[in-house]
């Protein structure tokens, strides 16, 4: 699964993207974000406040109860600030 990070999520975590193996048991966005927090202290800190972590699956904004699958492109980013 391809994970993309934007804006301060990218700078806090320190990488623009990573490819992860989706663990069994992770079936929705909320589960994915919780699991990503365990990958490093930087992940944990960046993803601590889910209010400011928005998620898109396959380039569509989705809520935390949206399902995720191994072939999805998942992007995590702060609330957009517009142009």
């Amino acid at each position: 699964m391809k994970i993309l990070y934007f804006a301060w999520l990218r700078t806090k975590i320190g990488i623009p993207s990573e490819t992860v193996e989706l663990p069994s048991g992770v079936t929705d966005v909320g589960g994915l974000v919780d699991w990503l927090k365990t990958r490093s202290p930087r992940h944990a800190e960046a993803l601590a406040n889910s209010k400011v972590v928005k998620v898109a699956v396959n380039q569509e904004h989705v809520p935390y109860d949206h399902p995720v699958a191994a072939t999805d492109e998942v992007a995590l980013f702060p609330p957009v600030t517009g142009g």
Partner: protein, 152 residues
Amino acid sequence: MTVKVQREDFDVGAELAAMTAGRTSIGGVTLFVGLVRDMAGGEAVSAMTLEHYPGMTEKQLEAIEAEARGRWPLDDVLIIHRHGRLEPGDQIVLVATASAHRQAAFDGCHFLIDWLKTKAPFWKLEATPAGERWVEAKESDDEAASRWARDA
């Protein structure tokens, strides 16, 4: 019906000419050009870097452009949005709406820029005397966009 997300600057006069050339049913074009200001939130800004999500940004801009065309009788719509590092005075965004009638051109353009300024998937990094900071989403912008909400 054109959406461009690009690093390069744009030429408003050339874009307008291309939009209207030979199309004599157009009565007017409303344009909005957004520029980088030297101040934000009371602080001096020496540069702004716009980050976006390539692919998703274009998709969302195309969707909102289609919505504007559905809501108002527009002969043409152009959206150009830059990304990357910009300095005060630089052009950020151009929205142009052409219509037989000026009210439609105004409403369509205003709707699009309110959306772009609030909902478009861009993130701003501002360079200030205190260092670089990521801009947070503003309440007032959400209000501007919400006035376009359709009645249920």
